[in-house]
């Protein structure tokens, strides 16, 4: 009967916390074709427990596609994808759900659930397992970390874009998986919340999780990531520590715009600035 094949009946064995440095997801020779166009081609990438890995690159470089592929969303992807050491296709939806959480680029909701209800949805994969006992703690912690407690009882649909983004992140954090895949978590956020989100990523990595985060802001990437993958036309153009990878030559070529890399006088972290024509002293601001 139908009901016995359902979500509840299939008991899920919760995975143990990942060992430090363990490979959580690994793409080998990954290629994705969408609408006849090769969006990704020959991508090799491994995500390890304990690191923040950022995916950067210009629009259309394949960042989101790569993230979706790592999330095992793209059944049509060629090449290999291992999740937790097993081919992604061998995992069921729920087995994947206790291993990786995914933050989509934009979050929509069809019905006016409250913020708390939305965050609590992140606990769904754990229903019926021992981890169910953590539900309340996980929800409370995620909501505190993302600063959404103040509107816990408001309907999601009544929030601003930035607030929605943080609630969506809270839902993903509440899922408490070994691997976090975040697609532009900072895009709609103000400066303070951007920093906060990246700090959360760091903390999760230090707690032994693997975090993959798509970013547009190269400065944020340089400041918070352990490794950066620069994507260019569906391929990984460079992969390594941000200070090694973010060079003026590479970035200028990839983005098709001259870029300058400065060093932060205090932290030595690279600051990436597009080259801009000098402005006449019009507004009297700097000159």
């Amino acid at each position: 009967m139908i009901r016995f094949q359902g979500l509840r009946a299939r008991t899920v064995e919760p995975p143990p916390p990942p060992a430090p440095g363990a490979v959580l997801a690994e793409a080998a020779g990954l290629a994705v074709r969408l609408g006849g166009r090769r969006v990704l081609d020959g991508v090799d990438l491994a995500v390890r427990a304990g690191e923040v890995l950022t995916l950067v690159g210009p629009n259309g470089a394949g960042k989101s596609t790569l993230l979706a592929a790592l999330a095992a969303d793209l059944a049509s992807a060629e090449g290999g994808l291992l999740v937790d050491g097993r081919p992604a296709a061998d995992w069921g939806a729920r087995e994947l759900a206790v291993r990786r959480a995914v933050l989509p680029q934009s979050s929509t909701l069809s019905f006016p659930f409250t913020v708390t209800e939305v965050v609590r949805m992140g606990r769904a994969p754990w229903a019926g397992t021992a981890a169910e006992d953590e539900d309340e703690a996980a929800v409370a912690e995620a909501m505190a970390a993302t600063d959404v407690v103040a509107f816990a009882d408001r309907p999601f649909s009544a929030l601003s874009g930035g607030e929605r983004a943080r609630v969506a992140l809270a839902r993903v954090l509440a899922q408490r998986t070994g691997l976090l895949l975040l697609d532009e978590p900072t895009a709609a956020l103000d400066l303070r919340h951007q920093e906060q989100v990246m700090r959360i990523c760091r903390e999760r990595a230090e707690a032994g999780r693997g975090v993959v985060v798509v970013l547009h802001d190269l400065g944020l990437a340089a400041a918070w990531a352990d490794r950066a993958a620069v994507l260019h036309r569906g391929r990984v153009a460079a992969l390594g520590a941000p200070e090694e990878v973010f060079t003026e030559g590479l970035l200028s070529e990839v983005y098709g715009h001259p870029v300058r890399v400065l060093l932060d006088p205090d932290t030595e972290a690279p600051l990436i600035v597009p080259e801009r024509p000098a402005r006449e002293a019009a507004s009297g601001a700097g000159a």
Partner: protein, 390 residues
Amino acid sequence: MTAPTTAGRGAEPQGPDAAWESPDPASDARPSEPAPASAEEERGPRGPGLGRIALLTLGLVAALVLVALVSVATGAYDIPLGDVINSVLHRAGLGGEPLDRVGESVLWDARLPRVVLAVLVGAALGCAGALMQGVFGNPLAEPGVIGISSGAAVGAVAAIAFGLDFLGNWTVTVFAFVAGLATVLLVYVLSRSDGRTEVVTLILTGIAVNAFAGALIGLCVFFADNAQITGITFWQLGSLSQATWPKVLAVLPCALAGLLIAPWYARRLDLLALGERPARHLGVDVERLRVVLILVTALLTASAVAMAGIITFVGLLVPHLLRMAAGPGHRFLLPGSALGGALVLVSADLVARTAAQPAELPLGVLTALIGSPFFFWLLRRTRRRQGGWA
């Protein structure tokens, strides 16, 4: 500001959550069971949580029982409420007194099957509406609006017009079911792209499907003889006047199966509100969920249409009101909509029978008369609140 928020949060998690966590799906699979009052006392007072839902369920059940009793007692041949209860008790073997011959016959052969059928049809329509809105992720999806009802009607009308009865009492039901299922699938395929259903596409698909179904029904009418045409016309307007126990029994398995399966998927429907991909990321097998729920929707709609003709707006009105009152969580919404649908239909049928005595108003006409203004109001309200449906 801080204090009330904290207090609210402290109490809130036990509210809807207690129901959420119940590992036994059967516990929320009984639509008509009022949430136990003891659980309410245990957890103490709280805001819009379980207490409100329990109260609402209790209110719905009480109202349904009351209206059903009144409906059974009222009509051309008045039977006092006390006599009704006595007769029911008598037949149930719990004492009581039988009525005189005419009374017994009116009560048991005409009124009761009719009220039971109204309960079944209303519950099926209400639940189907809530389900379909969940599956499409769209608050406007309703079997009537998007054309499923008329699709099922094509099957039923064809069966009547061509005098088919090779499946006995089941013929019309089976035909309605098959046609309803085909229509749901058609609408689903036509109105979806990229895992989303846009309201405009959905409504336009509904218009097209309704037009096509109307043409097919017209064709059936063309081929039918006069007696059949009269039958079809009145059937189409929606009515429960032909209710008999065999008819109730014919529709019972379909409706009951649908009503019992639906709450099983409540939590997954909640997750589906996030969108298909996020739902999958949370472990929902979206493909299977959709297929199963579309089948269930077709089952519910077809059984309702087969018995009572096209009755619109119940599936739209009831879930909307309940969502406003108790939030969008499907754990309450699915059984609640079944209850509410039953209540609305029993009430509507009571009015249809008694408002223009001795004639009978068509039930479908009555629900549309009340439902359409509600629809207008809903459109205006949504536009005011969020600038319309995207």
